[in-house]
């Protein structure tokens, strides 16, 4: 190897120039032309980028860049980092309903009431509207929803002799025993805080509350009757080995279990169909959807699981906020924007779509090759899910630090599922204790 001065200079120059060139291309696109406003959207939902083309066509002076900054918790961490650094936060961020209160209380989000969103109440389902309505303001627009439903593998149910879909939790328990006898589990749970929230919500629980000024938090897990009701029931299921407590949700093994029938049903949000289609392809034609079992015969109470909204990050740049709101309105409120996303698999949060015959009459999902797949055996599954959306109990509140709370749930209560060394109510009590401690360390008064 021979090195001459010229070669050195050349190598040095190339090393220093390469990133410059690379940077140049990114900065030029962000502020090209004085009349255009460009906005950045953080969203992991794959259907959001599909709306950009239609929006930019209708609003040629606004450029939208949608970027996937991480899925749920990863994005929140990034958002918190950018906010504490004071730079790098997007104009719009996808935020799940459960995480919304903490951003509102920290005053990170733009109140959309004055921009025109206050009149949208009748447009959205009661559950989603109550989730974005915090302390009298509207801080985000719902983009999808997750009313709970019972997704079940009819073939496994039939084989076990469960010919009637369980409509109450007592029937669910009896069905679980029959299904366990065939070797399968009726469902799985290894200690998922989101699931815990949804299930206690459906049992009528309201363990959390935050005062209007955001200074006082109520944490009432150990005294709430709804929490007690559900905990006792689930403990019975765990004790009698009726649910799979070994297979974590969303793992490859879990998908395998759904695929081969060893996990026979799911209690989850209405957005599940497309996840089933790609995660458990062999279940095609075997699965069905039904309403959640209820605590009293003939009851209709329901709750939500998951679901997200788009929120505008607070900014002093009025032009950006206005442009961001235009995009938000297009994605979450305009018929064309919503249709684009629903066609791609999103479960809608607005009443118009939930009532439209196009949506309700669907009997097949569209797979990744564009082919129709009668995954639910020709059932008009959206009719069931749309009904589920109208039955959601409003008024359930999340903690103002729900992201943290869910993160430690498994540390406190996980042992009740995995090695059964503690009971579920002991786990919940430990969670209550740690949440109280954390709330106090964050400066809240805990009631």
């Amino acid at each position: 190897m021979k090195f001459t001065k010229r070669a050195v200079a050349l190598v040095g120059a190339v090393i220093m120039l390469a990133p410059l060139v690379a940077c140049g291309s990114s900065s030029s696109s962000s502020d090209s032309g004085s009349a255009t406003t460009s906005i950045v959207v953080w969203s992991w939902d794959s259907t959001v980028p599909r709306t950009v083309a239609g929006f930019e066509k209708a609003n040629p002076n606004i450029k939208v860049k949608v970027t996937n900054a991480g899925t749920n918790k990863d994005e929140y961490t990034a958002l918190n980092n950018a906010m504490s650094a004071g730079k790098g936060a997007p104009d719009i961020a996808q935020i799940e309903y459960y995480a919304l209160p903490e951003y509102v209380i920290r005053d990170n989000l733009q109140n959309l009431s004055s921009l025109g969103a206050s009149s949208y109440k009748s447009f959205y389902t009661p559950g989603t509207w109550s989730s974005v309505n915090i302390n009298g303001g509207v801080y985000a627009l719902p983009i999808d929803s997750g009313p709970m439903a019972l997704f079940y593998n009819k073939e496994v149910f039939d084989k076990a002799g469960v010919t009637q879909v369980p409509t109450t939790w007592d029937e669910f328990y009896e069905a679980a025993k029959k299904i366990r006898a065939t070797g399968s589990y009726i469902t799985s749970d290894t200690g998922d805080a989101g699931f815990f929230d949804s299930m206690t919500w459906q049992a009528g629980a309201t363990p959390f509350a935050t005062s209007k000024d955001g200074k006082t938090v109520t944490i009432g897990l150990t005294t709430d009757s709804g929490v007690k009701k559900w905990t006792a029931f689930w403990q019975k299921m765990i004790n009698e080995d009726l649910i799979d407590t070994k297979t974590p949700g969303w793992s490859d093994d879990w998908n395998k279990g759904l695929n081969d029938g060893s996990i026979a049903s799911l209690l989850t949000g209405a957005w599940m169909p497309y996840n089933l289609l790609s995660g458990a392809p062999d279940g095609s034609g075997k699965w069905r959807v039904a309403q959640m079992p209820t605590w009293e015969a003939g009851g209709t109470e329901n709750s939500e699981n998951g679901g997200s909204s788009l929120a505008i990050i607070k900014s002093s740049d009025d032009a950006k906020v206005k442009a961001a709101y235009k995009f938000l309105d297009y994605v979450a409120h305009s018929a064309t924007g919503i249709k684009t996303r629903v066609d791609a698999g999103a479960f809608p949060a607005d009443n118009d779509t939930l009532k439209s015959s196009d949506f309700l009459d669907a009997t097949s999902l569209t797979d990744s090759n564009g082919k129709a797949n009668e995954y639910f055996g020709g059932q008009e599954y959206n009719k069931v899910l749309a009904k589920a959306a109208t039955d959601v109990i409003t008024g359930y509140k999340f903690l103002p630090f729900e992201v943290y709370a869910r993160g430690i749930f498994a540390d406190d209560a996980g042992a009740a599922y995995t090695d059964k060394s503690i009971t579920l109510s002991q786990g919940i009590a430990a969670w209550q204790k740690n949440l109280t401690k954390y709330a106090e360390s964050q400066g809240y008064t805990v009631k």
Partner: protein
């Protein structure tokens, strides 16, 4: 020594005339076979002698069933993830969820998977690959260059504060890069550099371990007399460095660059907090994003693409190791024996 020994013992049967009775046509092969048999026999005897005397010939070590078995286990353990990747990269998503993890699926979809990996989401995987290459070439390349120059200067020049630098470098090695990532993020955010490739490149330019390695290596590999001779001949310090010292440092350079390349190629935490624009992601973050897609509402599970993408991601590293292995070995062994 051992080669000569073996030659001497194996040549004995030929001299006693047994081989001479064969016809010339068959002679060479028979000879070879006989010689191989004889060699094996002698080696066996040598090993037996070594077992008694306690001295063994390094070129003809004693065999141990136990050690072979343990080594075999380790090989299997190390290759296991790789085999898993290779096997599962040939499956479709449907086969991935329905068939045994270490067995092949119903079809062979490797080519389809590869094609989809590079076309999915408008071919963003290719962009991530290019990004990773950029970070490696500029970041790891720059880190290596800085380590060479710094290490060489510390080893070959005497200047005040040299010991202080030594203490700082040793201290810096003991601080894990992850611990510095968050302060770095806040610093870069203030400078307005997050979300640009600089946020990935500048921290990658620093490699205390590489500097230390090059320091030690320069100390051993470049004789001070040679530098004095070059100076006497009128070469400037730069010319001495590039033309005299650098060729001598080649094995060390390869070692250092392998370390920095692997560190940059696999870097996960730094880009995770620095970059939020998917068009600047390196492969590590991009693949994680694909993996997470399956657990989002209505998201399509693309585990087959994640697996195939991971395979594509490690192949350049495997190639780099295989090609540079020769230099690397001589680099690590340098200075072990006084020549």
């Amino acid at each position: 020594m051992s080669e000569m020994n073996r030659e001497a013992t194996t040549s004995m049967p030929m001299t006693n005339g047994r081989a001479a009775t064969n016809t010339t046509a068959r002679r060479s092969t028979t000879n070879r076979r006989a010689r191989a048999r004889q060699t094996a026999h002698d080696e066996r005897l040598e090993r037996r002698r070594a077992g008694k005397s306690g001295f063994s010939n390094p070129a003809n070590p004693r065999r141990s069933m136990m050690l072979t078995l343990i080594c075999g286990l380790f090989v299997a353990y190390c290759l296991f993830p790789f085999v898993y990747l290779l096997v599962n990269a040939t499956k479709t998503q449907a086969d991935f969820t329905s068939t045994f993890g270490l067995g092949f699926g119903h079809g062979f979809a490797l080519w389809d998977n590869l094609q989809t990996v590079f076309t999915y989401q408008d071919g963003i995987f290719g962009r991530w690959l290019v990004n990773t290459l950029l970070y490696v070439v500029v970041g790891a390349g720059g880190a290596t260059l800085l380590a060479i120059m710094g290490g060489y200067a510390l080893a070959k020049f005497r200047f005040p504060g040299r010991n202080a630098v030594f203490v700082v470098v040793i201290g810096a090695i003991s601080v894990p890069g992850i611990a510095l990532a968050v302060p770095q993020f806040l610093l870069f955010a203030k400078l307005g550099l997050t979300n640009t490739p600089w946020a990935m490149i500048i921290p990658s330019l620093i490699s205390p371990f590489g500097l230390y390695l090059m320091w030690i290596f320069s100390d051993q590999a470049v004789p001070t007399e040679l530098l004095e001779a070059a100076r006497v001949d009128g070469a400037g310090e730069f010319r001495t460095f590039w033309q005299v010292s650098l060729p001598l440092l080649a094995p060390g350079i390869v070692t250092t660059s392998l370390f920095t390349i692997v560190a940059t190629w696999n870097n996960y935490f730094l880009p995770l907090i620095m970059l939020k624009d998917s068009s600047w992601y390196p492969l590590t973050i991009g693949l994680n994003q694909w993996k997470d897609q399956a657990s989002t509402a209505g998201g399509q599970a693309i585990q087959n693409l994640v697996i195939t993408g991971s395979l594509v991601t490690i192949i350049p590293l495997v190639i780099a190791f295989l090609l540079l292995q020769r230099y690397w070995q001589s680099g690590l062994a340098a200075g072990a024996v006084k020549e």
